[in-house]
């Protein structure tokens, strides 16, 4: 254990010393703001910080002066005063006035943040354990955004990328210069959509739809993370927003519409076709809990390898995936289409130690949807 510890942390100590010497990359303040609201927050924070620092220096300057001078070892004799109404009223009133001066700009920013009217575009954001779903309302574009950092980097088997843990397969793409309204909700537990550069943090709460807005002028890629503890992979559901010019945005929307995977609901697919697509669906949606090797996590998430449902009647298996089970296994009927579900079930029933040899067709899934 000890040598493991040294091996694992020894490199870290060296890294720490190296990075301490290269202090240029250390960040001591809020991220550079990318929206007007974020700049207001940035300035508000700086203002309050300076006020607090000023008060701190005055009060503790007095205290340390007293500590240095009013010591018994210097022969200082104790005075015996213990109240002074005027002084006490003064130091009640002055802080009150300072607080009012702080509250005024803060209130203005609050009202600005809350003004979601006249948006040019609306995107519905849904939190899932553990990914984000983005739905461009009225534009027919709808996709999930998963962490794209490979498992091998997380497990320290491979060098970590610059954007380690802050990279996704499908970022939210937005046009610059337009007021974007987000409607934020959740499918399961409470998540938090947090993008520091935009000054936005909004809890995604099941049963509620809350709105926030932003307008970003500089094209670029902005990164954030889920902020509200949402279970085991809370640290692994980043948020990436790519701001592009309105022209590029229009092109992107067209491309998204063209790229929607179409399937033929009446076709009979072969096992190989289904398994090939199912492997992708499994990696994106199921592997976080049941693991890529199908062994699950003992005590937390069941193994699918050798599982009685996976090797039992297919209708039960299909219904479990469609409707979820026991509060922990989510219902997938709204997130995945019939082809996805048929494929992933075929994959599960024919992978690892499972060899049912069955190919589940989209029509069979459709028949069991309620």
């Amino acid at each position: 254990m000890l040598d493991k510890l040294v091996a694992r942390t020894g490199g870290g100590v060296a890294l720490m010393l190296a990075s301490l010497s290269a202090r240029a990359d250390l960040q001591y303040n809020l991220q550079p703001p990318a929206t007007n609201v974020a700049s207001q927050i940035y300035n508000l924070h700086l203002m309050v910080l300076w006020v607090c620092l000023g008060i701190f220096v005055v009060v503790f300057g007095a205290m340390f002066y007293s500590i240095l001078r009013h010591r018994k070892s210097l022969g200082h004799k104790a005075a015996n005063f213990h109240e002074n109404t005027l002084v006490e009223i003064t130091w009640t009133v002055i802080p009150f006035i300072i607080l009012m001066a702080m509250a005024y700009p803060a209130s203005k920013t609050v009202l600005d943040m809350k003004n979601t009217s006249d948006a040019d575009m609306t995107i519905k954001v849904t939190g899932y354990q553990w990914k984000w779903g983005y739905h461009y309302l009225g534009q027919g574009v709808n996709f999930f955004s998963n962490l794209s950092t490979p498992r091998s980097e997380i497990e320290n088997l491979q060098t970590k990328d610059k954007h380690y843990l802050l990279e996704v397969d499908h970022p939210m793409v937005v046009p610059t210069g337009e007021k974007i309204k987000l409607l934020i909700t959740s499918n399961d537990v409470i998540h938090g959509w947090y993008l520091p550069a935009f000054g936005i943090q909004q809890d995604a709460i099941p049963g509620f739809v809350k709105s926030v807005w932003f307008k970003v002028d500089e094209p670029g890629t902005y990164r954030g993370q889920c902020a509200q503890l949402c279970g085991k992979d809370h640290g692994f559901m980043p948020i990436v927003v790519k701001a592009v010019s309105p022209q590029d945005f229009t092109k992107w929307i067209q491309a998204q519409k063209a790229a929607v995977v179409t399937y033929n609901p009446n076709k009979t697919y072969t096992e190989a076709e289904l398994v090939q697509h199912g492997a992708q669906v499994y990696a994106a949606n199921c592997a976080a809990c049941h693991q890529a090797n199908g062994k699950g996590i003992p005590g937390a998430f069941p193994a699918l390898d050798g599982d009685p449902i996976v090797n039992g009647p297919k209708a039960v298996h299909i219904e479990t995936v469609l409707n979820g089970k026991g509060g922990r296994m989510p219902a997938w009927k709204d997130q995945l289409n019939d082809f996805d579900i048929a494929s992933v079930i075929t994959y599960e029933r024919n992978s690892w130690g499972n060899h049912t040899g069955e190919a589940i067709q989209p029509a069979e899934v459709k028949a069991l949807r309620k």
Partner: protein, 525 residues
């Protein structure tokens, strides 16, 4: 007055020997000792969990623990520190000191006192034992927000039951403290003559009685949602996950003051003692404490600024929260004014008390920053918040407890503690504390969320500094353990009043304080 004049022939002077003494004791000093030991054990266990957390966070990537276990660690670290370490430590102080400070022979309800304590060890065993059940311990954070907490395994049920037990214990303890203070004061000890520590506990006890049942209600609803098909917090059944947050923080915010008001009390005993000058603004201190307690019921939703409440709600809770800075500021000014033109010496309790005033104020300022809604939205759920509440809970509550332990150890044990080791403990703790928690402000500003087992590369350096600091801080507490054990086993004989400037009634008793004190009430002028 001289307590050695008391007759010690009442027959119950000699308690049973061995374990039965501690199991059956109804003596406020024994029970105070039990509370303090319990608290120290919990402090060290929950502290080891913190070190496991910091070990995992030393580098990006997963090194030691899987994310689910990491979440269990953060959850239990919080619950055990709050309900196991800090609150019982203050109750331990109250048991030892309130009767002696007001000239009472014991607590009002001696048998209930025994039960209040003995509910705690089973609660602690439930919490610690939950690591070993299928699914592990609760992993939803100490706030136990549903629907996440509905998903947990039986570890969550054990946590809920433990919270019930600890809540009952707190309520009984509070009833006892209030009754003792209101009914058993020595002749002449009017309310406005009580030592500040007694005042802060009187107010804290009312807070506890007001809010512990609220928490019990919240976790009971969780329990029935989990097992009996209710939908208090499940939107699919017409429930409301936000309602839990409101109920929880209606408990949670006063709880913050439950953990800091007795600390104010301890510091208000220590500073005048070592400044050899009476506490400045005693009356305004009492009023400030009471205002903080009352205001604490009107600010809970500042823990929920990111849920998306209407602007009017955000503004109300922002203004109310900022208002708390006023009475808190009054307290800090009063302590500084107490020191001003005193004749100060700097024994370990005074060092801890001064560090308390300084560092607690940093936590207060970061609280003010977080009170501003727009800034809070930027910093909520980040390491800035972690830094903030460790400045108020470690350098606030925990360091005031350490100050108090050094201050009253001579009275409790009859020996002086080792001043050299005490000072070493002070300096290592204060320095290591700041190395650990100050960089967390920067991490939060840069946008690192809390409660994550792994982080992006730009957060590496400050996390490493914090982890190194955390291990130093953890090791420093072993010095504390050594000082306490050494002081119990021996050391220079303590006089009845080891501190020149001390003036409350407990210092009129011999050291160690006799098993039964003030059987005849002293007369206070």
């Amino acid at each position: 007055m001289d307590a050695t004049a008391h007759t010690h022939d009442l027959g119950h002077e000699h308690p049973p020997k061995g374990i039965m003494r501690w199991l059956t004791t109804t003596n406020h000093k024994d029970i105070g000792t039990l509370y303090l030991w319990f608290s120290l054990i919990m402090f060290l266990s929950a502290g080891s969990m913190a070190l496991m957390i910091r070990a995992e966070l030393f580098e990006p990537g997963l090194q030691f623990f899987q994310p689910d276990f990491f979440n269990q660690l953060t959850t239990l670290h919080g619950l055990l520190m709050i309900f196991g370490a800090i609150m019982p430590a203050f109750v331990g102080f109250a048991n030892w000191l309130v009767p002696m400070m007001i000239g009472a022979p014991d607590m009002a309800f001696a048998r209930m006192n025994n039960w209040s304590f003995w509910l705690l060890p089973p609660a602690a065993l439930l919490l610690l034992g939950s690591f070993f059940v299928p699914g592990g311990a609760a992993a939803a954070g100490w706030t136990l927000y549903p629907p996440l907490s509905i998903q947990m395994g039986m570890g969550m049920d054990m946590t809920i039951f433990a919270i019930h037990l600890m809540g009952i214990s707190s309520i009984m303890g509070s009833i006892n403290i209030i009754t003792t203070i209101l009914n058993l004061r020595a002749p002449g000890m009017s309310l406005m003559k009580m030592p500040m520590f007694v005042w802060t506990w009187l107010i804290t006890a009312y807070l506890l009685i007001a809010v512990m049942p609220v928490l019990a209600g919240a976790v009971t609803m969780l329990l029935t949602d989990r097992h009996f098909g209710t939908h208090f917090f499940n939107p699919a059944g017409g429930g409301d996950p936000l309602m839990y947050e409101h109920i929880f923080w209606f408990f949670g915010h006063p709880e913050v003051y439950i953990m800091i008001l007795p600390a104010f009390g301890i510091v208000s005993q220590i500073i005048p003692t070592f400044a050899r000058k009476p506490l400045f603004g005693y009356a305004s201190m009492v009023y400030a404490t009471a205002s903080i307690a009352i205001l604490s019921f009107t600010v809970w939703a500042h823990h929920m600024f990111t849920v998306g409440m209407p602007a009017a709600g955000q503004l109300f809770f922002m203004y109310a929260t900022m208002l708390i800075a006023v009475p808190t500021g009054v307290k800090v000014f009063n302590w500084v004014a107490t020191m001003w033109r005193g004749s100060m010496t700097f024994e370990t309790p005074m060092l801890f008390a001064i560090a308390f005033v300084c560092l607690f104020t940093i936590g207060g300022f970061s609280g003010l920053v977080l009170a501003l809604v727009p800034v809070d939205i930027q910093l909520h759920n980040t390491y800035y918040v972690v830094a903030h509440f460790h400045y108020v809970l470690f350098s606030g509550a925990a360091m005031s407890i350490m100050a108090g332990v050094y201050f009253w150890l001579p009275k409790w044990t009859g020996h002086m503690y080792d001043e050299r080791l005490g000072k070493l403990h002070f300096w290592t703790t204060t320095i290591a504390f700041n190395i650990t928690f100050f960089p967390m402000h920067f991490l939060g500003l840069a946008g690192m969320p809390r409660r994550i087992p792994d982080y992006a590369l730009q957060f590496t350096t400050f996390n490493q500094v914090a982890s190194v600091g955390a291990f130093l801080l953890g090791m420093s507490q072993l010095i504390f353990l050594v000082v306490v054990l050494k002081c119990i086993r021996g050391g220079k004989k303590a006089p009845s009043k080891p501190w020149e400037g001390a003036d409350s009634l407990e210092w009129t008793l011999p050291s160690p304080a006799p098993y039964h004190s003030f059987q005849t009430p002293p007369v206070v002028k």
